[in-house]
């Protein structure tokens, strides 16, 4: 009980100090039973790192002390792949409780290679062990278990339930037919449908769809709809199976239509928001795929009225033929939300132009805005004057939509945009017009754009710079370079980004020259040179390094990593012994990306560094190199006290095995 005499913070510090010295194991094991959760949690991490699986296994086997058992289990799980051989060996034991814990640990560790060792336990005489084994093969997604699991579907209820869930998790289409046998007339119908939803096999669509017409109880109808929707989403060609049931739905689906209509108009409330959203999406998917005409207006109205329902556009775009025959009727619908939705999703041709133009004078702003977008999607130059008019005189959403639409037209049609860029034009019009020119290059407007880059308005200058960046001529580059000295900091950094995107020797030369000025822009210049991947800047960056403050020094490391000069490893090795921890971390990360076999000793030393971030970089680097030595180090890192390091090491261990030798690297 001495642990209770000091505060948790002191006990934690004492544990940290004792854990890594000889005899530390006893301190760690004692701390697994500490009264404070913070101390226990730390002891578990240390146990995972410093205590062997066999010792932890003894804690797990101690049926008398639940605290020790749970702590031992947690530590084993944290050891991950390091503990797997021990846990697999336990699977040969007779003690059902030990088997249970081993199975649970293996499934939580999630190391798939253990899966085959579990197969013999699927039909273990102890039902608890059998159930744990079934759950484990499900979690580990052991495909080889599918035939045996299908065989277990005829056993008692708990085994059936576990097998159904496992089949769903494994996701093999061979399970579709055995699972369909439970639907709809069985107490296992709902879990079977949930499993079918997880499997989402195309072959389940045909048998599932007609059930929507006959099953009316919400308890089963909801999961059925969710399953159908997922299968449709992942089906390569769902329209064939959907067509058959669409006719039945039109003829006899009154009740189903009411149900879907309710879901499409439901307003999610706090308690059921997630479920309502899933059902809404599922109902929309079904309506879109089957083309259920009665519900198209409801779906389009939802698209217009619900600001987070933009996904409906993509959904309807997947099934354009379903909507096309009714598009004209929907465009003249009395409900403006429906008209707006139809404009947003419709695919229009030249013959539709008069109808679309009518909508430009609709009393509702949202409809007019959608009409601008629809006209733009047509991509026909003759609509340019209409969109230009909206750009000049429309409300802000119309202006933005008109600009978006104009950007799809040809440069010839956009010459008229000049009128929107004239002096005296309202600033929002000028900015939107320039936004068009950031998407489409109109050579005839270059002089005007470059002139606007000198505008007194920061918003106009910024928009003009973005448009100017599209022009290839030297004049445009001069404008961008000049903007590096703009009085407005965001414009400076934008100019830098635009120059980086343009690339080119001239910009790099200019940026290298700017390294000589130690102002706040230099950090961005260093970064920009990295993004340019400019080899000609590498030496200058290296020589600048000693003159800089820590932030710029770190940025030099990151930029050199992108440029990758031949002397990079040598540079990073020098930084790895820096006094400053953040610089060592940056160097370690760099080495993890560029180290070759010659650097294996460096990476092995990094793997034992006191700093977790450096160990994490070591794990990444060792994973890249591969080989026996690297693997041994990774097995230790896979049970690191820091979860992030352990996870990186585990991911590295799962990389394809390589032969690490000088010739192989």
């Amino acid at each position: 009980m001495t642990s209770l005499l000091t505060a948790p913070a002191h006990r934690l510090a004492a544990l940290e100090a004792a854990a890594r010295v000889p005899g530390g194991e006893q301190h760690i094991l004692a701390a697994l039973e500490d009264t404070a959760p913070s101390v226990r949690e730390r002891a578990i991490r240390l146990a995972a790192r410093y205590v062997e699986p066999a010792v932890l296994g003894e804690l797990v086997a101690d049926g008398e002390n639940a605290v020790r058992r749970n702590a031992g289990l947690s530590a084993l799980e944290r050891q991950g792949p390091y503990a797997v051989p021990h846990l697999v060996a336990v699977l040969d034991r007779d003690d059902p409780e030990l088997l249970l814990f081993a199975l649970q640990s293996l499934s939580r560790i999630g190391f798939g290679s253990a899966g085959l060792a579990i197969l013999p336990l699927l039909s273990h005489p102890d039902p608890n062990v059998a159930q744990a084994a079934i759950e484990a093969v499900g979690k580990l997604r052991v495909r080889e278990a599918v035939p045996a699991l299908c065989g277990l579907l005829q056993r008692d209820l708990w085994i059936q339930l576990a097998a159904i869930a496992a089949l769903g998790e494994i996701g093999h289409p061979a399970a579709v037919a055995p699972l369909m046998a439970f639907v709809p007339d069985s107490v296992l119908a709902e879990p079977a449908v949930q499993a079918l939803r997880r499997i989402a096999a195309p072959e389940s669509l045909e048998p599932l769809l007609p059930l929507l017409l006959t099953v009316r109880e919400r308890a089963l109808r909801d999961p059925l709809l969710l399953a159908v929707a997922v299968v449709i989403e992942l089906h390569p060609d769902p329209e064939g199976p959907a067509s058959g049931v669409a006719r039945d739905m039109e003829a006899n689906g009154g009740d189903l239509v009411v149900y879907l209509g309710q879901l499409l108009t439901a307003v999610p409330e706090d308690g059921d928001a997630e479920e309502a959203e899933s059902l809404l999406r599922a109902a929309a998917t079904l309506v879109a795929a089957t083309g259920l005409a009665e519900l198209h207006p409801v779906l389009l109205a939802r698209l217009s009225a619900d600001p987070v329902a933009r996904w409906i556009e993509g959904l309807l775009a997947r099934f354009p033929e379903r909507l096309a025959p009714r598009l004209h009727a929907l465009l003249t619908h009395a409900d403006p939300d429906v008209r707006c939705g139809a404009l947003r999703v419709g695919s229009f041709g030249p013959g539709d132009l008069p109808l679309l133009v009518e909508h430009l004078s609709d009393p509702r702003l949202a409809v007019r805005t959608a009409a601008c977008l629809a006209l733009g999607r047509m991509g026909l130059d003759p609509v340019a004057p209409l969109l230009l008019e909206r750009l000049r005189r429309g409300e802000p959403p119309e202006q933005a939509a008109a600009a978006q639409g104009l950007a799809r037209l040809s440069p010839e049609a956009l010459r008229e945009l000049d009128g929107c860029l004239e002096p005296g034009m309202a600033e929002p019009v000028v900015v939107e017009a320039l936004a068009v020119l950031t998407r489409t290059t109109v050579p005839a407007l270059e002089p005007r754009v470059l002139q606007l880059a000198e505008s007194p308005s920061a918003a106009v200058r910024l928009a003009a710079l973005r448009a100017a960046a599209r022009f290839t001529a030297a004049k445009a580059e001069v404008v961008l370079l000049r903007a590096l000295a703009d009085r407005h900091q965001p414009i400076q950094t934008e100019a830098l980004e635009l120059l980086v995107r343009r690339g080119g020797d001239r910009a790099v030369t200019m940026l290298v020259a700017m390294l000589g000025t130690a102002d706040s822009l230099r950090f961005h210049v260093i970064r920009a040179l990295g993004h340019c991947r400019a080899p000609s800047a590498a030496s200058r960056l290296r020589s600048l390094y000693p003159e800089c403050g820590p932030l710029e020094q770190l940025q030099i490391v990151w930029s050199l990593l992108r440029i990758a000069p031949p002397w990079l490893s040598e540079f990073l090795l020098l930084r790895l012994v820096d006094q400053d921890l953040d610089m060592r971390r940056a160097a370690a990360q760099g080495l993890s990306e560029v180290a070759c076999f010659d650097h294996l000793p460096v990476l092995l030393a990094m793997a034992e560094d006191p700093d977790w971030d450096i160990r994490n970089s070591a794990a990444r680097g060792l994973g890249r190199l591969g080989g026996a030595e690297a693997r041994t180090a990774l097995l230790t890192l896979a049970r690191d006290v820091e979860s992030v390091v352990a996870a990186t090491a585990r991911a590295a261990l799962e990389l394809p095995t390589r032969d690490a030798s000088p010739s192989a690297v």
Binding site: L4, A7, P8, A9, L12, T35, A36, P37, S38, E41, T493, E497, S520, F523, H524, G549, P550, L551, L554, Q555, W558, D582, R585, W612, D613, N616, E642, V644, A647, T648
Partner: protein, 276 residues
Amino acid sequence: MTSFQPADLKLLGDLIQERFGLTFEGVRQDILGSRLRPRLRELRLDSPRAYYEYLRFHPRGDAEFDRLPALITNNETYFFRETRQFEILIEHVLPERRPAAPSRPLRLLSAGCSSGEEPYSLAIALHDAGLPPAARSWEIDACDLNPERIARAREALYDETSLRACDPESRRRYFSVEGGRFRLKDRYRVGVRFFQSNLLAPGFALDRPYDVILCRNLLIYFGDAAFDRLIGLFASALVPGGYLFLGHSESLFDRDTELLPVVVGGSVVYRKTAKP
């Protein structure tokens, strides 16, 4: 949208924990990433590691630290949230505490008060229970890490979302409309004092004793060590027999503390052991 490296998020999370005690481990790392993504975009930084370096070394790093709490914590609060605890306070706790402090006002602290909805709701509840501050029967202190939220609390001007649990009668009675927003009437602001503080700053101590501390839905942000420190701070600041109210999802179960759980009015609250 590219996902952030877990190591980068941990690096930043460790810095935040060291500075503010707020923890972002496990799934909360993703929350940290999603909350900071817009800010990184604004600063044109491409990773949480770059943001970490900005915070540590950029000349504007300190200013960035000041705005960080507002970016990463949820200021989700509203008037009259979980009012059952106010009822317990008024019906059971204050009558019990009153005789222990006959010559001074009862002192209450709202820790992590965000933009003031909780302490003002408490003030309103005390008014409605016939305990106006003019009688000097109580004082409410309220603190938050974020200076912007403290400024908003002092301004006492709220949007519709802060009044989502208010019926029309409550709106009319406690607020006046100002340009489409709602100003708390002056009489409910009297007796409530706001101050900005980082409760986990090294050496920080509350400068006076309290009869009741409300710290609701704040501890969920803290790791074990910070949690223990904060509870230790509250235990020191409470008078013997004083009470701590936590949020519904928070508890002191399995903690070494002199604050003991007691059931009052059907709810669990924590009481500091009285002097023998």
